[in-house]
């Protein structure tokens, strides 16, 4: 029995001027799943995630989060969502605690649960010791953690992470991957990356984008059919390039 769908992208298309950045992308995410959005630079990963987070409206197509249409009921859809953009949206002159509380209030966390959820989010992201520091004085890795904490503090059923492990050292990367895995078991996570082994380690399914088009949607095992994941990624993108050239 399949678990319920928490996020679905339906024929998402987005033009920047006349250039088509994302072209007819559809996929779904179920509860308990971690979905990896894979692609080279400029493949349209971030644009797709922005459309799913409701910060960019698609030229055509629709996105649904927990059965709420993002264009028609943005307030309900967005309250089921935690989003870490490509550049973490941090106020450098705020303290970590103040910043996270502000993010929680924006997502309508009840005042009596605020302290508990702040504590939990800091614990999960390894931020317990730096609650009183200014965000601007933290290192890049810790800022990234604050960005993730901001996305999960209201315990949303869907978490969207745009390149969550960029700028982290290997040990931190490992911790964050464990965290993503834990988030995926409780809810559902979609993350973008260009690191193949990351997808292999934490994701249940992968979606591969190339020049805005979806070229692969399947489980990690499907992707592993080929000799190894790296070559299959290269092969998939190369196949498509040849197809394009043949046309």
């Amino acid at each position: 029995m399949a678990s319920p769908v928490t996020l679905s992208a339906q024929h998402l298309t987005r033009f920047h001027g006349r250039q088509c950045v994302v072209n007819d992308v559809s996929f779904t995410l179920r509860r308990g799943e971690v979905l990896g959005l894979l692609g080279h630079n400029g493949a349209g990963k971030s644009t797709t995630l922005q459309m799913l987070a409701g910060t960019l409206s698609p030229s055509s197509g629709a996105a649904e989060i927990c059965d709420f249409n993002l264009a028609q009921r943005p307030d309900l859809a967005k309250s089921c969502l935690g989003y870490l953009p490509e550049h973490p949206p941090l106020y450098r002159d705020m303290r970590v605690d103040d910043y996270l509380c502000f993010a929680a209030r924006l997502h309508r966390v009840a005042p009596d649960r605020l302290a508990d959820q702040l504590q939990l989010a800091k614990q999960r992201c390894g931020l317990l010791d730096c609650g009183h520091q200014l965000v601007g004085t933290l290192s890049k890795g810790y800022q990234q953690r604050v960005g993730i904490a901001q996305a999960i503090i209201h315990q949303p059923p869907v978490v969207i992470l745009d390149e969550p492990t960029v700028g982290l050292d290997p040990a931190q990367m490992h911790e964050i991957r464990d965290l993503i895995r834990a988030l995926g078991d409780a809810g559902s996570v979609i993350l973008s990356t260009h690191l193949l082994h990351e997808v292999e380690q934490v994701c249940d399914r992968a979606v591969i984008l190339r020049q805005g088009k979806l070229i692969f949607d399947g489980s990690i095992d499907d992707l592993r059919q080929h000799r190894d994941i790296e070559s299959s990624f290269l092969q998939l993108t190369a196949d498509r390039a040849q197809e394009g050239a043949a046309k």
Binding site: P74, D75, S79, Y83
Partner: protein
């Protein structure tokens, strides 16, 4: 939700050193002007005593002070307001608000109230300065109140204008300059003649400055503030819908 945003805005205004610096300079200028006016008044006091209906201390000292405050605020508010939205866009923090389950109306009103709270502090400080008149003479409290109301409404109008320009651009400096240019233009309208004068906030402020509280002026300020807040909300909403 609006209050959450307003509180955050107020805190971040007071977290920047430039705010304190501007407030300090403003207080120094106002205090200097205040003492100079008091000095002038004391010098001509003997002659005034012989006149039949001589101007009182309040209209001779307090009203001009508020006039100066109005001009200073016209120049300062665009500098405070420019950051409100344009800087969030530039620092990429805008996405935090855009991805949150709040509407553009919440954002605009929250930021407006936050800025207005800070401006109210400035105005309250100058109100205290005027109340020191009571130490030496009976003051016209009604006139002081109408002056404070007038400058508060004027400040709210400039804040709404500055917020609108901050909403339509990514560059804080462009926002500040546009808002300054428009408020300066409106001020020049008042100095000119003809029906266009009625469009200038300064004309309506002048009535309150001499102690005349009329519903026409109050309605004008309410409409001016509402117009620019609605324009800002509309712009953000259309931007979210992808034009």
């Amino acid at each position: 939700m609006i209050l959450t945003l307003a509180r955050k805005e107020l805190r971040s205004l007071f977290a920047t050193p430039s705010t304190w610096w501007m407030l300090a300079l403003l207080q120094i200028i106002l205090a200097w002007f205040w003492l100079a006016r008091v000095d002038d008044y004391l010098q001509v006091q003997a002659q005034l005593a012989q006149m039949e209906s001589a101007p009182g201390a309040t209209i001779a000292i307090a009203a001009p002070l508020v006039n100066v405050l109005a001009v200073m605020l016209m120049m300062l508010i665009p500098l405070f307001a420019m950051r409100l939205i344009a800087e969030e866009r530039r620092n990429q923090t805008w996405l935090l608000l855009a991805a949150a389950p709040i509407s553009p109306a919440h954002i605009v009103l929250g930021k407006f109230i936050g800025l207005l709270a800070m401006l109210s502090l400035i105005i309250a400080a100058s109100g205290l300065m005027m109340l020191t008149l009571l130490l030496g003479t009976p003051a016209d409290l009604g006139l002081i109140a109408s002056n404070l109301l007038g400058v508060w409404l004027l400040a709210a109008s400039y804040a709404a204008l500055g917020l609108y320009f901050s909403a339509i651009t990514r560059q804080p400096v462009v926002a500040a300059f546009s808002a300054l240019a428009v408020s300066f233009g409106l001020w020049m309208l008042e100095l000119g003649s003809g029906a266009l004068r009625a469009l200038s906030p300064n004309l309506h402020f002048q009535n309150l400055n001499v102690g005349l509280v009329s519903s026409v002026d109050l309605c004008y300020f309410a409409l001016f503030i509402a117009l620019f807040l609605l324009l800002a909300i509309r712009h953000l909403r259309r931007e979210q819908e992808g034009r």
